[in-house]
């Protein structure tokens, strides 16, 4: 497609709708990152569809000058599946939140991932229900005090990446709203992936859950707290890349000082491995957002894309039987003549 597409700028991808997020909301940064990335992707705006559910994050499609559906709570992956299966020629994005995508919409999400529907799924994880004014979400930490948990939440949270990996996702990544460059790289890779690409974006809700990710995303904290994953490279991090990750023969990942174990002992990241176990282990490396946390592309493996598969079966059928003939179909169970 790309060559056919005229050069565009951020402006071309920006709709005329006024953006209605709270001042300071992390969503703005994500919107900008996407609007600035689109011109580089070589797709025509008329071939792009953004589908969302309900939530602050789900207002996103209104702000993109593309086709879009602001559907209902939790159902975006289902609606998007219909679009991607009906029209494999389209570039379909799903915008969802931690409540929209993991609470009410959890089932649609994991099925879209397992089927590997060709969707670029961005989950804005702010660990809270924003639009409904601050109840805890499936990613809120234990003990969280919110409007619906005045004595603290006792719900063990989901790790979105574990859920996705447990659900056969072929592409899984994580980024955060404060680093546009990182977001852009991750989004580009997700978009390039054929099939379902799941991206968790740590997003700050400055009104109902301000600073949730500060411990790892804060400018001064990042170098020590963010473990940036690169396929084929030993996993190292820290201001001087002095720390690393190793796998023990007991099947447990551990953080180490590179000096102690030597570069060669470090685990080499393999995002393309068929078996999702390594990606899963990396996703569990930090059980919260207060210790060193891997970011980037955890998993990216090739697998037949669902919509293409459906189309292929149609093609085969027509090739085998020829295009459908209605008159013939009506006679297919045997007929008789009445004179």
């Amino acid at each position: 497609m790309s060559e056919a597409v005229a050069l565009t700028t951020k402006k071309d991808w920006t709709s005329d709708q006024e953006v209605r997020w709270c001042p300071g909301c992390g969503d703005y940064g994500i919107l900008t990152a996407v609007q600035m990335l689109m011109p580089e992707l070589g797709v025509a705006a008329e071939n792009v569809v953004f589908v969302s559910g309900i939530g602050c994050s789900s207002r996103f499609p209104y702000y993109m000058n593309t086709y879009g559906i602001h559907s209902i709570h939790g159902r975006a992956p289902a609606v998007a599946t219909g679009i991607a299966v009906a029209r494999p020629d389209l570039d379909v994005w799903v915008i969802t939140g931690d409540g929209d995508g993991l609470s009410i919409g959890g089932n649609h999400l994991i099925h879209a991932l397992r089927r590997n529907v060709n969707l670029t799924i961005l989950m804005f994880n702010n660990q809270i229900y924003g639009l409904t004014k601050g109840q805890y979400s499936p990613t809120s930490e234990l003990g969280k005090v919110t409007k619906s948990t005045p004595f603290g939440s006792i719900d063990h949270p989901f790790n979105p990446l574990s859920v996705a990996l447990g659900a056969e996702a072929s592409f899984v990544a994580r980024t955060h709203d404060l680093d546009r460059k990182h977001m852009t790289e991750v989004f580009r890779a997700a978009h390039a992936h054929r099939g379902a690409a799941f991206v968790e974006i740590l997003q700050n809700c400055n009104v109902f859950n301000d600073g949730a990710f500060e411990d790892i995303t804060g400018r001064e904290k990042r170098s020590e707290m963010i473990i940036d994953l690169h396929h084929g490279e030993p996993i190292r991090f820290g201001a001087d890349r002095q720390r690393g990750v190793v796998m023990g023969s007991d099947g447990q990942l551990r953080l180490v000082e590179v000096a102690d174990v030597g570069e060669d002992a470090l685990l080499v990241h393999d995002a393309q491995r068929e078996d999702p176990s390594l990606a899963f282990a990396l996703a569990r490396l930090s059980s919260d957002v207060h210790s060193p946390t891997p970011m980037g592309v955890f998993r990216s493996v090739e697998r037949a894309d669902y919509g293409a598969g459906v189309s292929a079966q149609l093609l085969q059928a027509s090739e085998r039987k020829g295009p459908g003939d209605l008159a013939e179909l009506l006679r297919s169970n045997g007929t008789w003549q009445v004179a």
Partner: protein
């Protein structure tokens, strides 16, 4: 088979109702189907009524495990499978116990005596053997050791005892084929095709079939066979079709008539699953079938496909429609074409999954939050499911609205001959996609307004992804009339609520008027909808045959109603509405037209018999 020629002359019957009954494992559905096809090809008019348990295979020999297939064949036009069979084929005691009650007094019972042993009698709950005590004296009992005879016919082929026994339904079919002079070649051919993959089984079934046929002839079973001549149906080419097949083909046809690819998003559920099965076979028609993770995803995907320019369809039964309510409400707000097919079954809740009912009408009309009106269309016979599907699609596409198409378990599984339409005569229901900017801004710039309506139909334009310049966003929040931008203003909301209502109400201009069948000047009007059609048709005919006057209106469009319905209803002092629910259409017409309509209800998981309706009508007339 030359010996068939010399057989005694058959006695002619005008009409025959046979009920095949046996254990779920006995293959009664197959037997009934075959008998039906043979009769169809022979040219009889016919109507079938299969009944089977909700369990895959309830315990062998028990009442819960009985599976039956009732078929009526005749030499004249008929519209029901018959109130009560004249012949009951009972493969085991449970079948006899469960179905004898339906048999006409003096009817024929053909039993497989081999199955009437202690164990089976006990399982069926018989204290004594009904064949030996006098409990069957009101009937003509024909005892045949079918299992043994089948064995003798089949074992020589080297079939294992257990498998040989399995062929006994073909023995029964052969026997009945002789009794009622059915052509047999077609059945031999069918066996060849059906069991092509398994020589042993094929041979066994053929042998059993032949043995049954010859047994009827050689023994003094009846002194002569019977014969039901072909029916004088309107000239044309016919096929025998069930409601679900007709509906599936109707959807295929709708796609062709609309020149759109069909997308079916569905989740399996009895009795709707067969539509998914049928459509999934026809990928060469460009039909995409998607088995979703649940009913909500099923309709969600169909809605997404509709947004993308496909004919979006979702098929289900009552519990599924209940789950789809929120998404249907979204579809009403998005104003996109969408078909929701509800094959009704017994409720509430899981209810009677394999039995019929028509109690989803009010849910179809009102089962959504907010003011969310949509058209409702109901099929009335197995063949009509074909036309109903095309009509529902026509309305959905032309008015950009979700449409609910109602059928039920009785139509879904029942079969009836269908005079094939000429494909060339099917309506063109295609609609144009929007391709141009349609609104001029104050600054003279042109832009696309997704909610700028056709003044005539009030339908909004349908611009699909891939169309240059028409990029737009739609959503479930209230939209500004015209621009479609989010709007929370009071006036706009009221306007949009009325526009959506007026759009649906306006469809009345675009559907056929209701027609009175029978005596326009009668005192009593029978108002019907859905699958009660067959029983009402024959009941009305029977009553009128006795010289009494009665009028009948059967409606296909339940929202909006035909524009002349109110006027028609107001012409009759008495109105009865037979329904397989507690009076749902009756409620609606009473409210709409303030007429004293009275509901005639039956909620038994079974269709009305014509006798029941005849009684109801006569009661009103006297």
């Amino acid at each position: 088979m030359t010996d068939i020629e010399v057989r005694p002359q058959p006695e002619h019957l005008r009409d025959l109702v046979i009920r095949f009954a046996g254990d779920s494992g006995d293959g009664m559905q197959l037997t009934g189907d075959r008998f039906t096809s043979a009769s169809a090809l022979f040219g009889n008019d016919l109507s079938t009524f299969p009944e089977f348990p909700a369990e895959i295979r309830a315990p062998a020999g028990t009442l819960a495990g009985v599976s039956s297939f009732q078929v009526r064949i005749s030499d004249h036009e008929i519209s029901t499978p018959g109130d009560s069979p004249t012949v009951l084929v009972a493969m085991n005691p449970a079948a006899l116990k469960a179905d004898l009650r339906y048999l006409v007094a003096g009817g024929i019972v053909i039993v497989n005596t081999d199955s009437f042993d202690e164990r089976n009698l006990a399982k069926a709950g018989y204290a004594a053997n009904p064949l030996t005590d006098d409990s069957l004296e009101r009937y003509r009992v024909v005892e045949v050791p079918m299992t043994a005879l089948t064995m003798t016919a089949v074992r020589p082929l080297g079939v294992k005892a257990r498998d040989a026994e399995r062929s006994k339904n073909f023995f029964a079919l052969g026997l009945i084929s002789w009794c009622y002079s059915r052509p047999i070649e077609a059945t031999y051919e069918w066996i060849d095709v059906k069991f092509a993959k398994n020589d042993m089984v094929r041979a066994a079934n053929k042998a059993a079939f032949t043995a049954g046929f010859n047994f009827g002839e050689t023994t003094e079973l009846f002194d002569h066979p019977y014969q039901v001549d072909p029916a004088r149906l309107p000239a044309g080419e016919y096929t025998n079709i069930t409601g679900n097949t007709a509906l599936a083909w109707g959807l295929v046809a709708a796609g062709q008539c609309a020149r759109l690819p069909v997308f079916l998003g569905s989740y399996p559920i009895t009795p709707a699953s067969d539509i998914l099965h049928e459509l999934s076979k026809h990928k060469n028609f460009g039909i995409r079938t998607f088995q979703a993770e649940d009913e909500i995803a099923a309709i969600g995907s169909a809605l997404g496909a509709a947004f993308s320019g496909h004919l979006g369809v979702t098929t289900t039964s009552g519990p599924g429609v209940a789950l789809k309510g929120e998404t249907i409400s979204l579809a009403v707000s998005l104003e996109l074409p969408l078909l929701i097919v509800d094959i009704q079954r017994g409720g509430p809740s899981t209810g009677l999954p394999t039995k019929t009912e028509a109690a989803d009408l009010l849910m179809a009309l009102y089962g959504r939050h907010g003011e969310a009106p949509l058209p409702v269309v109901a099929a009335y016979s197995p063949p009509h499911c074909f036309a109903a599907a095309i009509e529902a699609a026509r309305i959905a596409l032309k008015y950009r609205t979700p449409v609910i198409l109602l059928s039920d378990g009785y139509l879904a599984n029942g079969a009836h001959p269908w005079k094939l339409p000429d494909v060339a005569d099917l309506p063109d229901i295609s609609v144009p996609f929007a391709t141009e900017l349609n609104h001029e801004r104050p600054d003279g710039e042109m832009e696309y307004w997704p909610y700028l309506r056709d003044p005539d139909t009030l339908a909004r334009p349908w611009a699909i992804p891939g169309t240059p310049l028409l990029m737009h966003r739609v959503g479930g929040i209230e939209k500004e009339d015209g621009s479609g931008n989010i709007s929370y203003t009071a006036e706009n909301h009221e306007k949009m609520v009325h526009l959506r209502a007026d759009k649906i109400a306006g469809i009345a201009k675009d559907i056929p008027l209701a027609e009175v069948v029978g005596d326009a000047d009668a005192e009593l009007l029978v108002l019907g909808w859905g699958s009660t059609w067959g029983a009402i048709k024959s009941a009305v005919a029977e009553v009128r045959a006795t010289g009494k006057k009665v009028a009948w209106v059967h409606i296909v469009h339940l929202n909006p109603f035909p524009s002349n319905l109110g006027e028609l209803l107001s012409m009759y002092p008495k109105i009865i509405v037979p329904e397989m629910n507690l009076g749902q259409l009756c409620k609606v017409v009473r409210s709409e037209f303030l007429v004293p309509a009275k509901a005639i209800t039956k909620v038994q998981g079974m269709p009305f018999t014509s006798a029941e309706l005849r009684t109801a009508i006569e009661k009103e007339l006297s």
